[in-house]
């Protein structure tokens, strides 16, 4: 390419960026979506986006506690064919590839032959709050309820790999579940992890909040990677394949990718050429009480409650603003269940003026990272990683 041509093209690209910065404008995610009177197995009535594959969202009210109840926990499957019967006598995880000893581990073997560990962690869909992005990106237009926090019990992934015995040149593992696509050409929802990046907190879980994992959340086994977005948390885990080289999988190499640049952002007409898989979550908070459009009484105590989390640095502070983000006051933080868990915050006030009252919440983590305002969130083509400052407006009567 001639030098002059190159300049011309980059100039055209630069103009496009300026024009589009004005066009792309992040709004607040969908809220107050209808809860339909339909109950899925082991679930209460939730926000329903689809029955096939099942997509259920948790309403705002549940985000006042550190632990999200199993029956209110969000559900997201990618594939329409999900085995609906599980025989625990024949169900096993197959560990194979670059290992000394091929293993077939049943749920009972995992429970009896390994040390049991527990981790409390936030599970959040990479596309949680996607409905905030403008222009609209393809993908499910979630409000902010594609997240939850639970205590998972299971076995360290490292311990399983140790038992199988990794060969010297083993570098990667592929993880696969039992759900399947209709079209045979479509790959399964496989994920891939670099072996030396697997933490002690990464577990193969068989329990969620002291019960069997609900069917819709991945019964009987689910991979738990605290700090990571949930697209990596394989449901109905059945296969662990150890390899020397990185394997190419659709859901690693094409889908669930974000721009590999500092702002992790791009323009609709000028998509980033270099991308990377979704991994660590950014700092976020969400108000569980009160709700938008709720009526509250004047001169009466109002106790704001919500949850804050990040990828495991831990939450340093949550601040509340009652003047549109001009001034901020510290909320009270409850005990930290784990550095990966929801941290409950509360803030008491007594509204004295009748009319609308806007309440905003902003979390800051131990690294000093804080949430941006909703309108400051930059666009990416998949609508991932939205973490704008939450806001609810109530009417004081």
């Amino acid at each position: 390419m001639h030098r002059r041509e190159f300049f011309k093209i980059s100039f055209a690209a630069a103009t496009a960026i300026v024009a589009n910065l004005e066009a792309s404008n992040t709004i607040r995610p969908r809220d107050n979506q209808k809860v339909l009177p339909i109950k899925f197995p082991q679930k209460r009535e939730l926000i329903l986006h689809s029955d096939r594959p099942p997509l259920l969202e948790t309403p705002r009210d549940f985000f006042t506690t550190a632990i999200t109840p199993n029956d209110a926990f969000f559900v997201r499957w990618h594939m329409p064919i999900i085995p609906t019967a599980t025989n625990l006598d024949t169900y096993y995880v197959h560990i194979h590839g670059e290992v000394e000893k091929r293993l077939y581990l049943t749920v009972d073997m995992l429970k009896n032959d390994f040390e049991a560990v527990e981790v409390t962690a936030v599970m959040q869909c990479g596309g949680n709050s996607r409905s905030a992005f403008r222009p609209t990106t393809s993908g499910i237009q979630w409000g902010s309820g594609a997240m939850g926090c639970a205590t998972f019990k299971g076995v360290r992934l490292k311990d399983i790999l140790k038992k199988a015995g990794l060969k010297e040149d083993a570098r990667w593992i592929s993880l696969n579940g039992n759900d399947k696509a209709v079209m045979t050409k479509i790959e399964n929802f496989k994920r891939e992890l670099k072996i030396d990046e697997i933490s002690d907190d990464t577990i193969v879980a068989y329990e969620m909040n002291g019960e069997e994992i609900p069917f819709l959340n991945g019964y009987p086994l689910r991979l738990i990677i605290p700090g990571f977005y949930a697209d990596s948390w394989v449901k109905q885990l059945s296969d662990i394949y150890v390899t020397k080289e990185y394997q190419k999988y659709f859901f690693m190499d094409v889908a669930y990718r974000i721009p590999d640049n500092e702002c992790e952002c791009e323009e609709p007409d000028n998509l980033a050429k270099k991308t990377k898989p979704l991994e660590y979550m950014n700092v976020k908070s969400y108000i569980g009480y009160p709700k938008n459009n709720q009526k509250v009484k004047r001169a009466t105590n109002l106790r704001i409650k919500g949850v804050a989390f990040d990828a495991g640095e831990g939450i340093k502070a949550v601040q509340i603003s009652l003047d549109g983000g001009k001034t901020w006051q510290s909320a009270t933080l409850a005990d930290e269940l784990s550095r990966y868990a929801f941290r409950v915050f509360t803030y008491n006030l007594k509204p004295m003026k009748k009319g609308k009252l806007q309440i905003m919440a902003k979390a800051i983590n131990n690294k000093g990272e804080e949430q941006p305002f909703a309108h400051e969130i930059k666009w990416n083509h998949g609508g991932y990683k939205y973490n704008g400052i939450d806001s609810v407006t109530v009417t004081v009567v």
Binding site: R52, L88, T136, S138, Q141
Partner: protein, 100 residues
């Protein structure tokens, strides 16, 4: 007799470890009915409910066209050239925002 008891015990154990088949409710996500709904029926429902369409909100014609192409090229939906056009028009007619 011993054998029968053993078999009984075995089958009891088996059933104890067998989880009851889960029944997922079937929910109708109604989309607008016209003569072209057949195109939607034969192309979209292989993999997902119409909830996926309704969930997107009102969008531009370009948006819907890109979605149709993504379903065909990425997710291998068997959409032929004629259906590609009809599906895009249908989606824009009922779930469009007026923008091309």
């Amino acid at each position: 007799m011993k054998n029968i008891v053993l078999i009984l015990l075995l089958s009891l154990q088996l059933s104890a470890a067998y989880t009851q088949k889960v029944k997922l409710p079937s929910v109708t996500f109604a989309i607008e009915n016209d003569k072209n709904i057949k195109v939607m029926q034969r192309n979209c429902q292989w993999c997902h409910s119409y909830g996926y369409i309704l969930n997107q909100g009102k969008q531009s014609k370009e948006f819907w066209h890109k979605i149709v192409l993504k379903m065909r090229d990425v997710y291998h939906a068997p959409i032929n050239a004629r259906d590609e056009k009809i599906a895009t028009e249908y989606l824009f007619k009922y779930y469009g925002n007026g923008k091309m």
